[in-house]
C-alpha cells in the first residue's frame, strides 16, 4: 500500500506569499555562501541535504485530500478538499484516456473537505465511475448543493461521470474493491468519521477533524482499538494541547500529543500529523514536528513510533 498526500492543510487552503518566498530564497543564499553551486544538480543536492525543509520546501496549502494506492485497479481517496484538483490531474494523466473508477471516502461534509470536488476533472469525464462513501445521511445533497447557483456556475447534473452514493455505518466493515473499510464516529461539529483501510496485510487509519475528550476513558479505549496495530495513522493535530483543552475546546480538533499517546497505546508504527493550522507557517509546522518526535521519545515504552508531518506531495510506501 502507498499513501499519497494531495492536501494536508486544515480549514482553508493557504499559499506562500511573495514575501515568504523572497525571505526563504535569501536564507538559502546565505546558507550557500561560499559553496560552488554552479550546476542545478549541485544546487538541488544542497537544498535537499543541507537546508531545513521549511526553507527548501513547503508543507503546502491544499485542504484535505489523501490517496491510498491499494493494489486495486480503482482509486481510493479520502476527502475532496482543494487537493482534489491536482489529484484529478494525476488521475487523468495516469488513465491516459481510459475510464477511471474512483472510490471517495468522506470524513464529513464541511467546506474544506469537499471544496475541490467541482475542480476534480475526472468527474466531468463521461465513463468515469465515482462512488462516494460516507456516513452522513445528506451525503449526496451536500455534493449537489455545492454546485448550485450562486455558489458555482455549473450544476452537479452537468457532470459526465456516473455516480453512486454509498451510505456506510460506523463500526460496520465493508469490502470495497478488495479493501476492507471500517468507519468510526468522531467528535466534530455535525459529526465526522474516521476510516480504517486494510489491504495486502497493511492497515491505514484516516482520522481527521476529530476531537478527543481526555477524561472519557471509554472513548480513549475505543480509539485505541480503532487504531490497533495500524501501519499508519493520519491524525488531526491542528492545535497545541493547551489550545485544544482550553480556548479551542469543543472546536472539534486534536493535538500532536494526543496523537502520540493514542498511537503508542495502540501499537501503531507510523503517525502522520495532519490538518495543519492555516495560521502556521512552515517553520511553525517544522517545530511542531520536532517537538512531537521529542515527546514520542520521552513517552516511549515499546517499539519506536515513527512521526512525520504531512505535506502536499508526501508519499509513504507501506
Amino acid at each position: 500500500m502507498r499513501v499519497r498526500f494531495w492536501g494536508t492543510r486544515g480549514s482553508i487552503p493557504v499559499a506562500l506569499t511573495w514575501r515568504d518566498l523572497r525571505d526563504r530564497i535569501a536564507l538559502a543564499l546565505v546558507a550557500a555562501n561560499g559553496r560552488a553551486l554552479d550546476t542545478l544538480e549541485k544546487a538541488h543536492a544542497f537544498a535537499e541535504s543541507e537546508l531545513p525543509f521549511s526553507i527548501a520546501a513547503t508543507y503546502g496549502g491544499h485542504s484535505p485530500c489523501v490517496e491510498l494506492e491499494t493494489g486495486s485497479a480503482s482509486y481510493f481517496i479520502c476527502d475532496m478538499g482543494s487537493g482534489a484538483r491536482p489529484f484529478g490531474a494525476h488521475v487523468m494523466a495516469r488513465q491516459a484516456g481510459a475510464p477511471a473508477r474512483v472510490n471517495v471516502f468522506m470524513s464529513h461534509l464541511h467546506w474544506d473537505h469537499m471544496m475541490g470536488f467541482p475542480f476534480f476533472v475526472p468527474a466531468w469525464v463521461p465513463g468515469t465511475q465515482l462512488r462516494v462513501h460516507g456516513c452522513h445521511p445528506d451525503l449526496e445533497a451536500a455534493f449537489v448543493r455545492q454546485q448550485e447557483p450562486p455558489g458555482f456556475p455549473v450544476g452537479f447534473s452537468r457532470l459526465g461521470a456516473g455516480f453512486e452514493f454509498v451510505q456506510l455505518e460506523p463500526g460496520k466493515t465493508v469490502e470495497v474493491d478488495g479493501v476492507r473499510v471500517t468507519p468510526k464516529h468522531q467528535l466534530h461539529g455535525g459529526d465526522s468519521y474516521g476510516y480504517r483501510f486494510e489491504a495486502g496485510g497493511r492497515s491505514v487509519i484516516y482520522s481527521t477533524d476529530s476531537e478527543h475528550k481526555l477524561e472519557d476513558t471509554t472513548e480513549t479505549h475505543d480509539f485505541v482499538d480503532f487504531f490497533r496495530d495500524a501501519d499508519l495513522v493520519v491524525f488531526d493535530s491542528m492545535y497545541s494541547l493547551a489550545e485544544a483543552v482550553s480556548v479551542k475546546e469543543d472546536w472539534g480538533h486534536s493535538s500532536n500529543m494526543v496523537g502520540v499517546e493514542l498511537c503508542q497505546m495502540a501499537g501503531v508504527k507510523h503517525l502522520v500529523l495532519f490538518h495543519h493550522e492555516p495560521a502556521y507557517d512552515d517553520a511553525a509546522i517544522e517545530r511542531v514536528l520536532s517537538e512531537t518526535r521529542r515527546f514520542e521519545e520521552l513517552t516511549r515504552e515499546g517499539a519506536p513510533l515513527v512521526v512525520s508531518s504531512a505535506y502536499d506531495g508526501l508519499e509513504i510506501a507501506l
Partner: protein, 124 residues
Amino acid sequence: MELVSREYAGAVVLAPDGRLDHDNSEAFRAALQPYLDAAARPQRGIVLDLSRLAYVSSAGLRCFVLAAKQAKAQGGRIVIAGMQPVVAEIFQISRFNLVFDIFASVRDALAALSAEATAAFDRG
C-alpha cells in the same frame, strides 16, 4: 498517586508524587477538588509543586487547566513550581508554559502569591 499538601498563611502547596496519566488523572482531579473548593475565597492561591512529578500526560495536563479555570472563576490563582526537566519539556511541547505562571521553586511561587505566605514559608 499521592497528593501531599502544606499551607502557608492561606496559600496551599500541593505536591503530586509519581506519574500523572490517563489511568489516574480523574482520581487526581477528584483529589484536587476539595482544595479548589476550599480556595473559593478571593486572593487565595494554590501552588502546584511538581518537583516530585516524574511524568504528566495530556489527561493530567487537562486537570491542571480545569483547576486553573475554576480557581480563576473564584478569584483565586494557581501557579506551578519546581518542575523536573522532563515535565518542564512536556509543558513546553504542549504550550502549557504559555498558560501558567511557572516558578523555579515553591518559595518563588509563594512570593508571587503573597508576602504573608512567603514569610510563613521562611519560618518553616
